[in-house]
Symmetry: C2
Subunit: 210 residues, 2 copies
DNA sequence: GCGGCGATTGACCGACGGGTCAAGGTGCTG
DNA sequence: CAGCACCTTGACCCGTCGGTCAATCGCCGC
């Protein structure tokens, strides 16, 4: 049975990762509910009991998967953003990077959308979005201070709009409702966001990707 | 057991509606998976077996609920749109109406979001969004013809952005991440959409709600 | 070679809940 | 009244699956 106070050996860590990997593959292929714990174990070539040596429940494994992907997304954003650029441009760069990242991990994000949040890790997903929104909001405030964005508009609302746009187009693209190359989609999102944020055509001369 | 070829009496139709209503209440309160068929029957004060007199499966009832709400949403949009207005304004009116409608039925839409699409009526939800998107796209094309919107931009993409915005802000509002009155949110969405759609500040003088 | 601990096994448990069924109304029509 | 179609009941069936457990293995330090 699972306990927190346990010292994993190298082999242990490897096995755990193996289970994580197999789970992700199966989840993305069939969905959370349709994937049995025993399926994961079979895929990893171990007995079912071993699952509960590494994870207290099936949900816990799911949560680890989500957390790990979130971390990678944030890293991808950080890499894509030029810290010396103006805040508006940084927002667009972040948005574009997110679209690209989500496209690169389309199957995982598609799976995420289809996980019923009924009780399962309720809030875990929202929490991630909230953090992201606050980040963008901070940059919106900066941009407002520089009068790149209308200072009368609510920063949190605008930030929410940005991440909503990213989420939506990523979804639309991966579900095949948009069959443009991912670069076009990313650029379109950059344009849409910039256009929605700036009060009038004050963006002349500033390009998202120079 | 359920069969299609059955003639419902008045009492029958009433009973069926009663089950539908109880189901909706319970689904919105606890979620789809957490609501047992027997709970619905208890709430309606009938025996479990009767459920299968009116519905072949639990999923079927769910599908009916979704279809019915979709119909009402479309009616609400149709009512809010001034057919004599220009297409850009009509789009904004439709968007605002949708936000208001979703807020008025917040608990139902919140529930919808949390239904895992794992197999269940997969596509039923997307189908609804697609229809809506095509409607908006048609109006975008109109607006492009009138040069209210940049004709070089992909109409389907823009339309997708509009409904994405509506969906996102409705979600953000009902989940408490935006604690503005619904009117403010609706108006903000109208502004955001218009801003994102028009190429430059060519919207001067046109107000969504005069 | 012994004790201890991590790692591994797979049979087993137990509840849960969707769906079935045979029986029994009730009310209309012929 | 007979026959038929709609309606209602609740005990029962039964597959499914997360989670448990006692037993065993293998490695390492003493």
């Amino acid at each position: 049975m699972y306990t927190t106070d346990r010292q994993l050996t190298d082999q242990g860590r490897e096995r755990k990762q193996q289970l994580l990997d197999c789970a992700q593959t199966l989840f993305t292929a069939r969905g959370y509910g349709a994937t049995r714990v025993v399926d994961i174990c079979d895929a990893a070539g171990v007995a079912k009991g071993l699952f509960y040596w590494y994870f207290p429940t099936k949900e816990t494994l799911f949560a680890e998967l989500v957390r790990s992907m979130r971390l990678r997304l944030r890293r991808a954003q950080a890499e894509a953003i030029d810290p010396t650029a103006d805040p508006l441009t940084r927002i667009c760069q972040g948005a574009e990077a997110s679209v690209r990242f989500m496209a690169a991990h389309a199957s995982f994000f598609a799976f995420l959308e289809n996980v019923g949040v009924e009780g399962i890790v309720a809030g875990l997903l929202n929490e991630g979005r909230d953090v992201h929104t606050r980040d963008v909001a901070a940059q919106v405030v900066e941009a407002q201070a520089l009068h790149l964005i209308d200072p009368d508009e609510d920063a949190a609302l605008l930030a929410s709009g940005v991440i909503g746009t990213v989420t939506h187009f990523s979804h639309a693209h991966r579900s095949g409702r948009i069959d443009l190359p991912i670069d076009s989609v990313a650029l379109f999102v950059g344009r849409w966001v910039r256009q929605a944020l700036v009060p009038e055509s004050s963006s002349r001369g500033i390009l998202t990707t120079p």
